[in-house]
């Protein structure tokens, strides 16, 4: 068992099966786990407890002897000692006697740690089997006056439930991945074919506007509408470009790039906004960085556009700061604003494709940023600044090593 991390955000919705039945209820019914089993477990707990240490020792001796499974442990002996404490508590939890939604959530939280450290499912199966065997042995050796045959059955049933909970956490992670990158790719392919096809009618509109403008220049009102149509064709064209970039999903081609110039260029290419001031602040002694200039320029453009929209939602004015600096060999880019800041939901979902808090835009800009940063091996995160407003930080590791 791995360390539990209580900061892990639990899914707020109630866990359910595909048929909509609560997961725990379904599991309990499936393995035939009843009140009697709960009572038996609660009753035999004190008798088995002295033998937990032996189970835990054997468990970690087995893991450490296995080259694949032991890779999940990176913190040496200190970590193993801590993990042994966690596993002992976990074993105690099995015999707690109350198996409700809160129990499910507590156990799932531990399962999610395994998913996060990328422990492969086959090791998880083997590990659960070690525990099951250990518990059966412990019951054989324990002084316990109850019905031993039924005791063994209860141990099997609770172990089955635990295994199912662990598998559920892997399924959760899989679903989250589908929702994220895979959904992005599928969406991108679909969008690209539509986007391409839209460019033909846009080209007709563009040229028709051009031809009309020559004929009606005398009437300012007509001219204004033609300008408007022309501008909107441009907006539609840039949305299509974003979609196509998503669909392309190409790997970054790194080369040494002057970061300051790249950021200046990016900021200049964002259409000026009357109510939003953009301030560029890049440390002058920043060495050239190894990155894909086209992709990172797009990241900066999208973040700045996002910031501008954040500070000027209802016509008030604000400032967007675009900062670039170094932290060791990492390139750190920050786009900050003095807008209203991020809601908890926005903070959790801002990089999900199609998530948007605004009525214009389709929610691809930040998703695209995340994918580009991921492909550079970097991280992107949003937070609220203590002085108000939001900040999105991009960290690109090994961008400043200078050798590539």
């Amino acid at each position: 068992m791995a360390d539990t991390d209580l900061r892990e955000p639990g899914l707020s919705e109630r866990r359910e099966t595909a048929e909509g039945r609560p997961l725990l209820e379904e599991l309990v019914a499936y393995v035939g786990f009843g009140e009697a089993d709960a009572a038996l477990l609660s009753d035999m707990g004190p008798a088995l407890r002295p033998r937990f240490a032996a189970i835990v020792d054997r468990f970690y001796a087995t893991i450490q002897a296995h080259p694949g499974a032991s890779q999940a442990i990176t913190g040496g002996d200190a970590q193993v000692q801590r993990l042994k404490g966690t596993l002992t508590d976990w074993l105690g939890g099995l015999f707690g006697g109350v198996y409700d939604e809160a129990y499910l959530e507590r156990r799932a939280r531990i399962g999610r740690v395994h998913v996060r450290i990328e422990l492969e499912q086959r090791y998880m199966f083997a590990a659960m089997n070690l525990i099951r065997e250990g518990l059966h042995d412990a019951l054989d050796q324990a002084e316990w006056p109850g019905d031993r045959r039924r005791g063994h059955v209860a141990i099997d049933r609770i172990c089955d439930i635990e295994l199912a909970i662990m598998l559920e956490t892997y399924r959760e992670a899989y679903v989250a991945r589908i929702r994220g990158s895979e959904r992005l790719a599928t969406l991108g392919q679909l969008a690209a074919s539509i986007g391409h096809d839209l460019r033909n009618p846009l080209a007709v509109i563009e040229t028709s506007v051009h031809l009309l403008r020559r004929r009606v220049e005398a009437d300012p009102k007509v001219g204004r509408h033609l300008t408007r149509i022309g501008e909107q064709v441009g907006v539609a064209g840039s949305i299509i470009s974003d979609l196509l970039e998503l669909a392309r999903d190409r790997d970054p081609v790194r080369r040494p790039v002057a970061v300051r110039e790249l950021m200046e260029e990016a900021v200049l290419s964002v259409p000026a906004h009357a109510k939003a001031k953009v301030v560029l602040d890049v440390s002058p002694d920043l060495p050239p960085a190894s990155l894909d200039p086209g992709q990172i320029r797009q990241v900066v453009v999208n973040l700045v556009m996002n910031g501008i929209q954040a500070v000027s939602p209802d016509g008030r004015s604000g400032t967007v700061w675009v900062r670039g600096g170094a932290a060791g060999d990492r390139l750190v880019l920050r786009v900050q604003d003095d807008g209203p800041g991020l809601s908890p939901e926005a903070m959790r979902r801002m990089f999900e494709p199609l998530f948007t808090t605004r009525n214009k835009g389709i929610g691809l800009g930040l998703a695209l940023c995340k994918r580009i940063v991921d492909k550079h091996g970097g991280t992107i995160a949003g937070r609220n600044r203590p002085e108000g407003g939001a900040e999105i930080e991009v960290v690109l590791p090994e961008a400043l090593t200078g050798s590539r």
Binding site: A192, H196, D197, L198, R199, N200, L202, A203, V204, I205, E206, T207, S208, H210, L211, R214, V233, G237, S241, L244, E245, A247, R248
Partner: protein, 126 residues
Amino acid sequence: MRVLVVDDNRALAENVAEILEIEGYETLVVDDPAEALRIARDTPFDAAVIDVRMPGMDGITLHAELSRIRPEATFVLMTAYARDERIEEAMQVVRQDDGTRVPLLTKPFATERLLEALRQPGGGPT
């Protein structure tokens, strides 16, 4: 100065032709690439603006055929599918006589870009 405008989207072909006529070009609008090839065989032309993706014959093939018939003509390709890797790849081999690449306009394009492309050496209204 006669320009062949070939696009299966007839509305766009006619708009492009109208823009060119205002600039003093003479135009021939064709919405079928095979028809364009037939016309080119017996009608002299100085330039051709060709859509890349068309049914029957793609614009890159048509360009190759037309430049065999009239090597000195100016060619401009246009496409709504510029980010398509197959088209990017195909464009690598599309060269003019002097070895320079044939200009490729991405739809929608600003009118000025089309006129610039036609004003390459050998192009431009007389």
